[in-house]
């Protein structure tokens, strides 16, 4: 967050834009349906000179240019996917805030599911193991020694 604060400040200083906000009234399309699509696309496109900001949030000049570009393509009849492809062709995959699923992003998309599957598998296996040998391990537990029992009683009798 703090980083964002600074970015707003920095971008307004270094990029020479006044401290404006993201989408300005003059950019908005007449057609509300197209404008809504433009906004949805903008949320997934990175302002490439900013740190972790979508062009929808950013006040950098480049973000504004990209917002206008997105709207231009939509007005010309591009589908959402075509607009994205166009941006990726021009600016590279870096422009997407949600990377495409591919070989080099395998672990990015797979990271969470892998942990879930491994964890689930481990739990399943240990629950089976427990079912197999509940008596054996129960027999293996030593009863509390007198000392331990006294300590436990002391703990349990509130304080």
């Amino acid at each position: 967050m703090k980083m964002k604060f600074v970015l707003v400040v920095m971008s307004s200083i270094f990029l020479g834009t006044p401290a404006a906000f993201a989408v300005n009234p003059d950019e908005v399309l007449k057609d509300p349906v197209l404008e809504e699509r433009a906004r949805e696309i903008s949320k997934e496109v990175r302002c490439v000179v900013c740190q972790n900001q979508s062009i929808d949030d950013s006040n950098a000049q480049l973000a504004k240019d990209l917002r206008l570009l997105v709207r231009e393509r939509l007005v010309e009849g591009d589908s959402d996917a075509e607009v994205m492809d166009y941006l990726v062709a021009r600016y590279g995959e870096f422009v997407l805030l949600k990377p495409r699923f591919a070989l080099h992003t395998l672990f990015l998309w797979g990271g969470g599911p892998i942990v879930l599957l491994l964890g689930g598998f481990f739990l399943w296996r240990s629950s089976r193991k427990k079912k197999d040998a509940p008596l054996k391990s129960a027999a293996g537990i030593k009863p509390l020694s007198a000392e331990e029992k006294a300590a436990l009683d002391k703990l349990m009798s509130s304080e």
């Binding site: 703090k2 600074v6 993201a22 972790n52 995959e93 949600k98 629950s127």
Partner: protein
Amino acid sequence: MIIEIGHYALILALVVAAIQSVFPVWGAVHSDHRLMGMAPGLAVLMFLLTCVSFGALTWAYLNSDFSLLNTYQNSHSDKPLIYKISGVWGNHEGSILLWVLILVLFGALVAVFSRNIPQRLRAATLGAQGWVSFAFLLFVIVASNPFTRISPAPLQGTGLNPMLQDVGLAIHPPILYIGYVGFSIVFAFAAAALILGKLDAAWARWVRPWILVSWIFLTLGIAMGSYWAYYELGWGGWWFWDPVENASFMPWLTGTALLHSAIVMERRDALKVWTVFLALLTFSLSLLGTFLVRSGVLTSVHAFAVDPARGLFILAILLIFVGGSLTLFAWRAPLLRQGGLFAPISREGALVLNNLFLTTACAAVFVGTLYPLVLEAFSGDKISVGAPFFNLTFGPIMVPVLILMPFGQLLAWKRGDALGVSQRLTTAFILSVLATVALVWFMGVSTTSIMTAFGFGLAFWAIFGSLWEIVDRSQLFKVSLGRSLARVKGFAPTVWSSVLGHAGLGVTVLGIVTTLAFESERVEVMRPGDTLEQNGYHITYEKSWTQNGPNYEELVSRYTLRKGGNVVDIMEPSKRAYKASGMPMSETSIATFGFSQVYFATGDTDANGGIVTRIYFKPLITLIWIGTLFMSLGGVIALLDRRLRVGAPVSARKRKSKTASVTAATPTPAE
């Protein structure tokens, strides 16, 4: 002179940390009571020395002593008093000193308040805390020294970043750090248990208060940071999945898992190895967060220093502690006996699932935060991972958590009855369906998507399902009202904490879903006298004027907010220019109606007297933060549980009188 005393105290603290790192641990391993007995005194001494040091730096800020490089770069004599104080931690060196101060504070708290835990465990814990303290004190002195002088001393400082001149900054970092750094003591307890090879249910009882304290502060710190960003940034966002946010969110997720697994360990002596692992992991993630934020590895112009030497130093600390603790874990954990058997469908089983999902959620955030860095380092490919990715990967994992939560509260320990619990929850389910239908109807059936309705349902299920624990345990409608009330009075505090914590999460989710689905915004160039209509409000732009603040000049714009012809509020957002830096800043103006907010920010002015006005309507948005308050309150109540006090902060006098009365009333078995 005061500065030199502060500097010297810091070096002495480092020496104390070195002694504390070695001798108490040696004593604990070799049963040397004299060496073990050193630990509490050293911990308190180290805290006092760091206090002196921190006090000296604060003194420099209060007196605008610009002979310090740090004050020169981050302060200004015109600054209001509160920002002179908060300016101490509004920069890299000062904030890392605050970090260390809180670190040694926790050590001192353990030294003072944990007299009744076994001497060996306490000595080893304080020793392990000494390692962390030593590493960070060394870092402050060698690579981030706030006591560097400049000569000749400038007459005026360059001022604090205006973004940080806000009450939020005064309180947000200390609270967040207490949470972040508090887990260091949990880490130290875990390391001590591994060193001593002794881990039992009592350990969980001694550690749980420290987990709770850290968790409460981390929860509040994150929530506060979110609200701060919301009103300060001026575009209505409240969570950005920014790496800096993720850095504090990851330890929160594993810390929440730890909170739950420690309960299982305390009650049932199960999940011991896992709990210790989570304790190590949570603090490792705190360290990772510190590394991410401080090192400049995020290739960003961050508010704090970007210095490769510092980055490498913290990376070394990170690797030593993560590597060291994992090694210790791999070496010693197999020696720990597993206990406490339970069936898959049981309270323990539900808590294990909770841990699985929270850990998965943390893994998703972890991968998303670090993957771009790793990919770029190894292949040179640059990719971006932002909010759309996290929403897609993190969101779905929360669905089973919310669905299963109420079941967990009602399932019995050891062996539960899933069908029976479902039957007991039927009424809560019906209530949440009714509430969902009512809310969808209120918001408009045609504008509500299926996903939104499902989100409402989840939130209400979490709320009603959690609250149902009260009805279920008090046997309401089954026994007489008087007996139910008597049962409610007799509830253990843990009942209230699980009810509040879980219902609070439901409230937060309700706020998130409603805001995401129904927020609207209006951006217009307005001229004085212009009126626009949105969401049933008539908004009139009255006028703008300039005025002077203590260290800035601002352009204030006034808007009148009307509903049904009546004035409901006057909004005065402004744009500020700070004198010291010339930086522009936008101050938002927010009106709260019930749980919803209308949010105003102004942008550029044009030649014809028009001003860009941004108005956001945020339905039920305050529930997001209100829910976190409930969660924290649940934590506070859990902390009040008498059973936890075995190792928790209790004043010595109170404890003495209590034990005295207990021994007088009931003859306790001889020790």
